[in-house]
């Protein structure tokens, strides 16, 4: 194991990103609503700083940061490990959560002097728990520890869906929870089988011990299906649109941009790190086929929606599909992580996170301003809130894959990889998906910028600062477009160099 930073100051960064948000939640309960705003003011910048510092350390050293919790080495103990991809995920998560927090500040402020209010107290506790859970997922090395993190993520995400308490949102939340619990149980079953066969749940140790045998395949299948349920890959996406469309805008942004990526991250850990032998099965092609189906189905469904937030939610179903094209393309390469597809897949994840967060915030602002989010009745609203529709459009460019945008670079890398590997079918899907995305984005923009029969009126004014936050996220998605069109070194930090060749 390289760079075992068991007790260094740098290693403590990993512990801090896990426990700082938790300290915030405990402080909320201990001190009550009166101090809520102060707690947020302290915890959010601190967690952001620690996340950024972790990235800086990992990237500047060029090697992973490892922390052995309690001093007990795996397999007996639990390790935390930040490699290139976890550092990148932590940074993206920190930026988006903080941006969303600034956006939500007005809506979820505890009024001073008033008794503790429900929505602010719950919202901030859930966001903090989400943050801690995501960091635990990015840093976790132990499959059971990751299970606990997954459940923490689920219990933080589900109540966000029904924070407003309407009938449809409660129904969506319950359905989401049932799907998620089924997913966790399948994942846990696979964990049990792996422990029974190899006596460890540590990802690094597992990679050395797994054999291509029946128990490995069954465990991998159960765990992957379980995680796909939580990631909402077609055809397990049924719970996503009503859940993501029903939450308050700030919640939807976090759910779509980050929460589904948490379980996706774990799938990558399993397939590329714990069981690289899976690359030699039909698995990667199967995952990509589901991804392709998701792209086509999700985009067509998005085109057919009458409500803006549902359109954006179905767009998430489609964009998740692109992530899975990475599997056959990167696993076919000589060394997965130096391939174009590896970088392309991660860039798709990052740029979708920025673009979708921006788009959900913009959709929320539109719904707030107009009092509805019926696409057909948007006629001319673009002239009333130009900045918000501009945000929607910029984010849309990234989803379609128009340069300059992170989405363009991501899709271009994936496209190049499919051509280079001779897997033409994925190239075709990427192109068709882009056209369909163009269709649903311009459907909204077209409505917004052509005057309708009765001009829409602003029923609730929205603050410029919230518009600026959403716009900045969209700009973030565009800036990712200046990423060089080549495999990124930071995404290769801590990648095992020998595993690809020694394991079947």
């Amino acid at each position: 194991m390289a760079a075992a930073e068991t007790s260094s100051i740098a290693g403590l960064l990993l512990v801090s990103v896990l426990i700082l948000p938790v300290v915030g939640i405990l402080a909320q309960l201990a001190l009550g609503g009166r101090f809520l705003n102060w707690i947020c003011l302290a915890v959010f910048p601190a967690s952001f700083g620690v996340s950024a510092a972790t990235c800086a350390v990992v990237w500047s050293h060029g090697e992973p940061l490892i922390y052995i919790v309690g001093g007990w080495q795996p397999p007996l103990g639990i390790a935390l490990r930040a490699d290139g991809i976890s550092a990148a995920m932590m940074l993206v998560t920190a930026i988006i959560i903080c941006a969303v927090a600034i956006f939500a500040r007005v809506e979820f402020t505890q009024p001073s002097g008033a008794p503790e209010a429900r929505a602010p107290f719950v919202f901030w506790a859930l966001i903090l728990a989400l943050w801690s859970a995501l960091n635990a997922l990015f840093l976790g090395c132990d499959l059971f520890n990751l299970y606990v993190a997954l459940e923490l993520l689920t219990f933080a995400a589900v109540p966000l869906v029904c924070l407003k308490g309407g009938e449809a949102t409660v129904k969506a939340a319950l359905r989401y929870l049932l799907f998620a619990l089924l997913g966790s149980m399948l994942y846990l079953m696979g964990t049990a089988l792996l422990y029974g066969a190899y006596g460890t749940l540590d990802i690094t140790l597992l990679a050395q011990r797994v054999h291509p045998e029946r128990v490995t395949w069954i465990a991998a299948a159960l765990m992957t299906v379980g995680l796909l349920t939580k990631t909402a890959l077609f055809p397990l996406h049924l719970w996503l649109p009503p859940a993501h469309a029903g939450a308050p805008a700030a919640g939807s942004a976090v759910l779509s941009a980050l929460v589904v990526k948490g379980s996706f991250f774990l799938i990558v850990r399993l397939w590329f790190d714990a069981m690289p032998g899976l690359g030699h099965t039909a698995g990667p092609q199967l995952l990509a086929s589901l991804g392709a189906a998701a792209i086509l189905f999700g985009s067509v469904m998005a085109l057919r929606q009458q409500r803006l937030k549902l359109l954006v939610a179905y767009s998430t179903v489609a964009q998740i599909g692109y992530l899975f094209l990475m599997f056959p393309l990167a696993m076919a390469a000589e060394q997965s992580w130096t391939s174009l597809a590896w970088t392309g897949g991660w860039l798709q994840l990052f740029s979708h996170a920025f673009a979708k967060a921006a788009m959900f915030l913009a959709a929320g602002l539109i719904a707030d301003a107009l009092g509805h989010d019926r696409i057909n009745d948007l006629g001319g609203a673009g002239r009333l809130r130009p900045l918000t529709f501009c945000t929607f459009g910029l984010a849309g460019l990234s989803l379609i894959g128009v340069p300059p945008s992170g989405g363009f670079v991501a899709k271009w890398l994936l496209l190049s990889a499919s051509v280079a590997e001779g897997q033409w079918i994925w190239a075709a899907v990427i192109v068709v998906g882009g056209l369909l995305a163009g269709g649903y984005i311009f459907k909204v923009l077209g409505r917004a910028f052509t005057a309708g029969s009765d001009a829409p009126v602003i029923v609730t004014p929205v603050s410029l600062s919230r518009e600026v936050v959403a716009f900045s996220l969209a700009v973030g998605a565009v800036l990712l477009g200046f990423f060089p069109l080549e495999p990124a070194e930071i995404l290769q930090i801590g990648r095992p160099e020998i595993l690809g060749s020694t394991v079947p």
Partner: protein
């Protein structure tokens, strides 16, 4: 060879599990599920996992049973006869589930040549901590990060349950319907059982360091006693804004986290115990966790704040 007892137990578990799944009335399904949980605890004893057996009986069957019974009592009016799903769905689901069961059974029938186990390495270093119960060792020494995170899950899930309160009732009392009859058997039980139950709960936590038991099981027993007293109407349900309640909820996780952080300063490592002090520190963690777990479990059962029931 398997004993007659084990074979009978497994058959019973499967039969009762299937009965609970297919029972027509939800109320019966839940009562059967509680029995199912008790049978499972027996299976855990047969699998030489007494700690798990206690947890299963106390939480998996006991407190979960109370939660479900409370739910079904309130859902009674809406318990319509289930609309049968389409038989094509049933058949497809049946085939799918049989496949899963068959592939798992196939793995069970061909165990690995050399059984894997961390038991030797657990025992090797258990002496350093001064603990006698290896399961407590795993929970509080080797894999304490899991246990700490799980405490956060428990508290967060309670905030999630509370979040379902209507806006105006945030911080109010959960609507547990007290049992209306005075002088009933329930009241009698609620007066006599808790003193014994509390002793049992504390005993379970106390022996947990060296013998089967611990904070989870002890906390669950305390929770059950508190719920019994509240249902009997002998104690009021506290409002969720109560300062004392909230402190009781977090005292365990806070002490756990604080001792974990203390480890950084004293030993240089998060969640490591200074040499020679492991056992007293773990007992301090377990004592406060017993309180927190008991309170959290009970509050989970009584649910979010609601308008008070009027009969």
């Amino acid at each position: 060879m398997a004993s007659v007892f084990d074979v009978t137990l497994v058959c019973l578990i499967l039969a009762v599990g299937a009965w609970s799944t297919f029972a027509r009335l939800t109320f019966s399904a839940i009562v059967i599920f509680i029995v199912y949980g008790l049978l499972l605890s027996l299976a855990w004893v047969r699998l030489a996992a007494v700690d798990v057996a206690l947890t299963e009986a106390a939480i998996g069957s006991g407190v979960t049973g109370m939660l479900l019974l409370n739910a079904v009592a309130r859902l009674r009016s809406t318990d319509a006869a289930p609309t049968p799903s389409r038989s094509s769905v049933n058949i497809a689901a049946g085939v799918f589930c049989t496949l899963i069961t068959a592939s798992l059974a196939g793995l069970v029938l061909v165990p690995p040549q050399v059984p894997v186990s961390l038991a030797p390495s657990v025992m090797e270093s258990l002496g350093q901590s001064g603990l006698g119960n290896p399961v407590a060792g795993v929970l509080f020494v080797y894999r304490s990060l899991d246990t700490l995170l799980e405490k956060v899950v428990l508290v967060l899930a309670l905030i999630a349950v509370w979040s379902l309160a209507p806006d105006g009732l945030w911080g109010g009392k959960p609507a547990l319907r007290p049992f209306p009859q005075r002088d009933s058997v329930l009241i009698f039980l609620a007066r006599t059982v808790p003193p014994i139950g509390i002793m049992v709960g504390i005993y379970m936590f106390w022996v947990g360091a060296d013998e089967p038991g611990g904070a989870f099981q002890g906390g669950a027993v305390l929770a059950a006693m508190w719920i019994l007293v509240m249902i009997a109407g002998l104690a009021a349900v506290p409002p969720t804004s109560s300062h004392a309640l909230r402190l009781a909820l977090i005292v365990g996780p806070v002490v756990f986290l604080a001792i974990g952080i203390l480890g950084i300063f004293l030993t240089g490592t998060f969640l490591a115990y200074p040499e020679g002090y492991a056992k007293p520190l773990i007992i301090a963690i377990e004592a406060t966790l017993t309180v927190s777990i008991g309170v959290t479990l009970a509050m989970h059962v009584v649910g979010p704040p609601e308008k008070e029931w009027r009969s």
